[in-house]
Symmetry: C2
Subunit: 562 residues, 2 copies
């Protein structure tokens, strides 16, 4: 098993900031910091305040090209303890960097955006506070993982479905919401399905948004806006407070469900998007729909075939074609789902078939999936299954995601370019030397835009020796997010350097063309302010109003922070 490689070790000799961060506590006055550690120990227990090098290294790891090693890590277990921790941080002027579970892979992981910060790991706050089956919601703390909520809903036979992002079993649901992540179902736009936040502000005040501040408000978890300004949005992609509880809407298990899949050729992307977009716009298809390229699908099933490629990268054209043929993978591969009653699902399936009549659409539900499994097992006895088994296996994780079932499967994609033996003990990209930096611009849902974006990014990836792993997600009725990532082996300095250059070029080029990222990591924060902008000034004024000493996550979605 490979040993842990802290992010700080990537380029120890060239990165001044990293050098600085390994000599804790840096700019901080030593005695103030020690006073704070003592006060924190008193407040939350000595065993939950860790400043040892091993812990700091662990939290300073990254799948990116550089990371900030935190000064210490705190593990509060309750909102009350978070308040206390923040009061102490405020008093001593020490910055804290809250994380939910630290699984923000490819967007900064668990590491602070800037130097001299103390990580506030909220993983002990993992209570499922309420699940309501009549109005279909849960109230959860930041430490609740996707797997935890999924299992709770299943074991307790709640009849409720959640939405899962591709971030795996151990990822936090709240963390993903606050980063405005997305998933695969009708509730795929995570930011849209929250109802009522509890937020601890820098001074220790506890804010309840929506109707939560009204005693006994009966629609607290069913109506988001409350009365007066609707504040929830300002606590997403920001550093204005520490969110300690969120109401999350869940779906009642539908009477009927049908996943749909199709694979198509290279030229089909614009046509597929232009056929599917109107169905989204009309509210007929309600799930987020994913259109992944062949490399995206391949990366989920295997690692880069260095041998067959004769050591060359990116993937040579003929080999790429051969691998697609072997795996029955199209140049573009669509996955989505239909939810409703028996009648409405059947009707939507019919419409979808008509709309996509020039493609072969496969519809799957639990019954047909089980049937296909039986057929495959039968045929394989006679050697006739012809890759059906592999196709079924490869479809299963996505099929599950379309029903909100979390899986670690997509994480394997992060290992695409990692050489050598696989880590059998962990799917965590940080444990596998996976280099992973997301570049995820937003575009309007049109075939022309999709093609334009592909033509823009593919040559950049190629120039730097990387493969363009691409998924277009139809996230709303009008917009798509193009999720691509620089996949590299973090142990190879040359590849790391090229990854950095590739990320820089992609980010700059896309921004220049008006393709703004929906989300970004530490390397992207400073690029958010493309010109002197009132938006970021206003943002800074709100920050100043809520956190005057700037102790919460300075630099996070704060491009102009000093």
């Amino acid at each position: 098993m490979p040993t842990v490689t802290p992010g700080a070790a990537v380029q120890p000799s060239t990165d001044a900031r990293l050098r600085q961060s390994s000599s804790a506590p840096g700019a901080m006055n030593r005695s103030e910091f020690e006073e704070a550690l003592e006060a924190w120990s008193h407040a939350i227990g000595t065993e939950y305040v860790k400043a040892d090098p091993r812990t700091r290294d662990h939290y300073g790891r990254t799948t990116g090209v550089e990371a900030r090693r935190p000064l210490a890590v705190l593990y509060p277990e309750s909102t009350e303890q978070v308040r206390e921790v923040l009061r102490i941080a405020s008093a001593q002027g020490i910055a804290v960097y809250p994380i939910s579970r630290g699984k923000n892979w490819g967007y900064g992981d668990a590491a602070p955006v800037r130097e001299n910060q103390v990580v506030l790991d909220l993983k002990r706050m993992n209570r499922i506070i309420e699940v309501n089956t009549q109005f279909c919601y849960a109230v959860i703390e930041p430490g609740v993982t996707q797997e935890q909520l999924y299992k709770y809903l299943k074991v307790n036979k709640t009849g409720l479905w959640m939405d899962s992002s591709g971030a795996g079993l151990d990822a936090s649901i709240v963390g993903n919401i606050l980063d405005r992540g997305f998933g695969h179902t009708r509730y795929g736009d995570h930011c849209l399905t929250t109802c009522g936040m509890q937020v601890v502000l820098a001074g220790g005040e506890v804010l309840n948004t929506g109707m939560g501040h009204y005693p006994g408000a009966r629609a607290h978890r069913t109506y988001r806006y409350g009365t007066g300004p609707f504040l929830d949005g300002i606590f997403t992609q920001s550093n204005f407070g520490v969110v300690t509880q969120v109401g999350v809407w869940l779906m009642p298990e539908p009477e009927a469900f049908s996943a749909f899949f199709l694979s198509a050729g290279e030229e089909s992307l614009p046509d597929l998007v232009d056929r599917l977009a109107p169905l989204r716009l009309q509210g007929i298809l309600q799930s987020t729909i994913h259109v992944g390229n062949d490399l995206r699908v391949l990366s989920g099933r295997m690692r880069y075939p260095w041998d067959r490629a004769g050591g060359r990268a990116p993937l040579p054209r003929e080999l790429r074609a051969a691998l697609c043929a072997e795996g029955a993978i199209g140049a573009w591969n669509v996955a989505g789902a239909i939810y409703g009653s028996r009648e409405t699902v059947a009707a939507t399936r019919k419409l979808l078939k008509r709309t996509l009549s020039k493609y072969r659409v496969t519809f799957l539900n639990d019954r047909t999936l089980a049937l296909a499994g039986r057929v495959q097992r039968f045929l394989s006895r006679f050697g006739l299954a012809n890759g059906l088994g592999a196709r079924l296996e490869s479809v299963k994780p996505v099929y599950g995601l379309l029903k909100g079932i979390p899986t670690d499967e997509p994480l394997h994609g992060a290992q695409w370019r990692v050489r050598g033996p696989v880590n059998p003990d962990s799917a965590d990209p940080l444990d596998c030397n996976s280099g992973l930096m997301w570049v995820a611009p937003v575009l309007s849902a049109s075939g022309g835009e999709a093609t334009r974006l592909v033509l823009l990014i593919e040559p950049i990836y190629e120039k730097h020796g990387f493969d363009a792993l691409v998924t277009f997600t139809m996230i709303t009725e009008r917009a798509m997010i193009c999720v691509t990532n620089v996949a590299f082996d973090r142990r190879l300095p040359d590849e790391v350097a090229r990854a950095r250059a590739c990320y820089e070029e992609l980010t700059n080029r896309l921004a220049g063309e008006g393709y703004v990222s929906y989300r970004t990591g530490p390397a992207g924060m400073s690029k958010l302010d493309l010109s002197s902008s009132v938006f970021w000034d206003v943002s800074a004024r709100i920050k100043q109003a809520l956190d005057p000493k700037g102790i919460i996550s300075p630099g996070r979605y704060q491009p102009n922070a000093a």
Copy 2:
């Protein structure tokens, strides 16, 4: 025609605040105010700065029980002029109260919430800046009315549908969004269908939210969140800035459409809600669904029958039953619609029929509506139409609203208790002596909650001599808004006094039971802070950050303002 009765005239002798407001400019230093008027005249033109008593009276009118007469009224015509106006207001420390069209009937109308404010009437800013038929959106200024956008979309054969609130032809779309109003279609939750705001702040800065601040952002009007904190929500139900442009999503005209209506008995309310709510929760019914009581429907068709009631009020039980029988009105009346393809609409209709099999559901589309009209005309020749004509007429405005077609029809309901001749020249409640104060608590979408609320409010209305006009709107997948209103004749001091008492009791009682209002008027602003609340403190801190001198609409959704 009745003459205009300014709100200030309602209780001239008893309301000290009103007395104060009629002696302009009150607490203001006279010469500073005159300097400001001069500067404003210079900035936007003398003819667009009005401080004459007639104009001030006009804007001081209200359908409620008291209103603040503004010091003056300004009519800027552009964002640039709004900036200039605000800079002058900031410099002189004079409060301005922006209105879009001033049709916020029953929630404060055009009048400021507090004394000593200058109305900023944005009606000249009525440009439809962009309409995009591919991605289905419009960019509009605050002065754009429902009728104006509707006609534009129709005349230009855009194939796009908007959502209309019940506020009538002349009401502003932006104004309704910023008050978080709602309508009748799949896009009924207006706050959810905005994309990108332009906001002028107190200091004259122009903020573009979402992606609007990025030069050339290609998904500016198709993806709301942008990158970094999502700010749009804080400009709804607040006084943080003057919104001068909003991107508004529109619906592509669906391939198929079917309205549905049903009428049912008094005991049916909980059953209806419990049958419809799951279809909302499953995303099968996507429109806001309205469930109105008999009085709500009656008030749309007639005024209070004083003669038949023998002068008694509220409406005697037997007379109420007789009127319902004559008009074929149920105790509860449902209106909603289905949008989609031919297949999906047919499937949903089938499901709805099954779900509501114990009721008689009428489905209507353009074809069946035209057919019914022909049948009615034919039958009526033989005296056999039996009220079919009246029923068709009464259904048409609601049918239109379900397709997003604005109408003045719902405004007539405000005249329910007004005595004497009808004003033939105006549907504006302010021109008709209509007393109108909304009380609109939010509840979770369950039959039990609906029943509980009705049992709570009906006795209060009755006690004060008013009729409980009630509509439950299933606004989201989980919540309903119960829209009720105190309807009275503003010329009768006794009725006004009772209206005030009724409003007070309703508001206090509902809040005490945890039924928080989704929106409120001037009389309700001070009641928003039920206990010392971090929420309103945070709100005040953001206000302070964005408008340090407090010049924009002091008191509006600001319960603790000095």
